[in-house]
Every structure is written in structure tokens, then in C-alpha cells.
Symmetry: C2
Subunit: 208 residues, 2 copies
Amino acid sequence: MSKIKKDNTEEKILEAAKTVFIKKGMDGARMQEIANEAGINKALLHYYFRSKQKLFEAIFTNLFKQIFPNIIKLMTSEEPIEKKLKEFIENYIDILTNNPRLPAFILREINRGVDFFGQIFRSQSINPNIIFAMFENEMEKGNIVRMNPRDIMLNILSMCLFPFAAKPLMQLMLFENDSEAYTQFMEERKASVTKFVLNAILLKDKHL
Amino acid sequence: MSKIKKDNTEEKILEAAKTVFIKKGMDGARMQEIANEAGINKALLHYYFRSKQKLFEAIFTNLFKQIFPNIIKLMTSEEPIEKKLKEFIENYIDILTNNPRLPAFILREINRGVDFFGQIFRSQSINPNIIFAMFENEMEKGNIVRMNPRDIMLNILSMCLFPFAAKPLMQLMLFENDSEAYTQFMEERKASVTKFVLNAILLKDKHL
DNA sequence: TCTAGTTTTGACCATCTGGTTAAACCATAT
DNA sequence: ATATGGTTTAACCAGATGGTCAAAACTAGA
């Protein structure tokens, strides 16, 4: 048994499937295209993963974990709220810069109406309540403005994720389709969004 | 020639196609499904619109206009910046509440890599520069914080659009999949986002 | 009523697509 | 060398899908 060979093709398949699925989505992707991308015979896809569905689940599950990675970890450190948010936003935008197509892919698939993604999410056992409690604690201490912690969380996620999900549109709208300008813009956004959020919620001196 | 009949079926088709395309996207939608939804024969779809592509373009073009409707109009009134932003956010979230699936649909299709959407956008002749100039003018007057006006615009759009685009995920994450709670939350967000944005950019007294 | 034009339909077609199968291939152990 | 067992391939299949077509059904004017 040649384990080296097996591991190699399996990885090639996963890599190819990831590329194709992210670009085309479950519906748009073709098994033949994945096979070509991996440089192998189409039947091999079914040999390693029984069906398109199973292959997709393997990819999606893995990618989904990457986009909601250590949110909890980042949000529950012992740092002051300013630093906590700053590091979260910077880290998150960095992750997304390295995986720019992930947000659009995830959004596309969670909107397909198949309940499969719900299972993934539940199995992740992400508990947002810990984060909400953290925000509420800061409100008690008078550090930040009183508001629904869900809004804070959602606002931050929106400002980080949406610009990637809507890249084709925003790049056209804001930078006449100049891809490099948009990348540069996202880099600067790490500081910009941080400032924006802190300005919005900090109670003490306005952080400028 | 029975104009009444014709207009009727054509409208039925457009309505059905809109429903199906929004739910399934171009790739996922089936002509048969659209025909069923419209309660007509599949061949009629091709009689009125030559191909799936043509039918899709008719729908997409129309929907696309709805989501970037009167942005300019709303943003260039003579009202003070506070009121301008308040009304924009409230109007925009209202529009989206009435068309909750639109953001996900648009995002899905603009990420399909087909350049067709670029043409639509250009034909819309939306000029963001007018909005940027407006923000820059407010900065000159010392009304708002100095920052890239693109960031302001993108932040607002993000906070309005993303919660709808990511509804299946956020509803699960924030409200244990309680749909009504999420709707209620979006209603309250009109005020919350407005406050958030004004807090973030206004220079004078912190608007609470 | 008859006729000409339009709308609607069922049957059909070529192609694509996910999936299967049987045979070939190949490294290893005996 | 040859038997063994995992790996890879070409050929194939059934069902789905976008699209076509000729005929039927309908409408309105002569």
C-alpha cells in the first residue's frame, strides 16, 4: 500500500475542490472541473469522497471553521477593551485578506436554504454569550456606551466581512476596478475601522 | 391580439422568475421550476424570453436598480449631516426589510465572475464622488472627523446590508434562530446604527 | 363563419452531469 | 516471478436540463 501516493491525491483533490467550490459554489461547481484542476480522473473523486455532496461538506466544514476561528479567544483576553477590539479587527481583516473569497462563499452557501450548514454551526459550539457578557461588563464599568451588545458584535463583523463579500462591486464603485488600490484600502481599513468603532462606543476621552 | 393576456403571462413569468432566481440564484434555478411557479408551460418561458440568460438579465437588472436606488438623492439633500444620515439609514433598512433576500442574491451574483454585472453597474451611472465630496465638505467645516470618505460610505453600507446577507447565520448566532426576534432586532437597528455612526464621526457634542 | 395572427402546449432533442463499473496499473510481500 | 490489494483510468449510464418545434387553442377582424 502506497500511503504517500494516497495522501498526495487526497490532498490534491481537497485543494482543487476548495478552489473550484469557492469560485463557483456548490451549484456552479462541476466534478469534471475539480478533476481537471487536480489533474486526475473524475472517477477518483468518487473513489475518495463518495459524492459531490460529501466532498462539498468536507470543504465547507473546514472553511467555515476558518472564518469563525478564535473569535472567542480574541474577545475574552484580559486586555483593556480598546486593545481587545483593535487586535480583533486587525487579526480578522488579516485573515480575510489571506482568504478574500471566503466571505462571499460562506454567505452564498448559508443562503442556499439547505440546513446542512446549521449542523456545522452547532457542532462548532460557538457561544456568543461570553462575548455579550464581556461587552455588558464594560458597560457596567462605564467604559463604553450602553447599547445592545449584539449590535456591537454585528457592526464589527459587518465592517470586516462585507467589504470582502462585496469586493467586485465596491472595487468598481470606489476605485474604478483598481484591484491594488482596493487591497491597499483594506490594509488601511484595519486602523480606520478600529478608530471608527472606538469612537462610536468609548465613553472616556474620544480616542483619535 | 390579446394584450391583456400577454401582459398577464409576461408579468406572471417575471414574478415567478424573480422568486426562484432570488431563492436559488442563476445556477441553482431551473426553468421548469420557474414555469411551475408561474403556472405555465416551460416553452412559454422561451417564447417570451429567448433564453435563461436573457430572463435572468431582465430580473437581475431590475433588482439591482432597487438596491442602489436613490442613494445619491438621499445623500445630497440640503439637510444637516445628522438628519441626512439618519434618514438614509432608516430608509435603507426599510427597503431591505421589504426585500430581505436581495442582498444575498446580489452578492452571490456579483461574485460569479461573469462580467455581465459590470455592464449593469456602469449603465446605472452612479457617481459616488458626489457623496464623497459631501463628506469632505463636512470635514472642512469641522462637523465630522477627518477620514477617508470611502470608509464612511462602506461602513454604513456594511452595517445596513450585511445583517440581511448573513441572516441565516446571524439569526442562529444571535437569536437561536428566532425569526421574529431577528426582525424586531433589525427594526431597532435603524436607531442603533444611526447612533453608532453619528457617535463615530460627529465632532461636536457626542450625540447620545 | 372564415381567416390570419398570436398564444399555449406536449412531445421531443442534444447535451451535460453526477455517478458506476470493470479492467488496467503498480508497489509490495512472499 | 507471481499473487495481492490498493489505486487509477476509460467507457459507460440514467436522469436532468435548456432549448426547439409543430400542432392545437385562442382571439379578433372581415
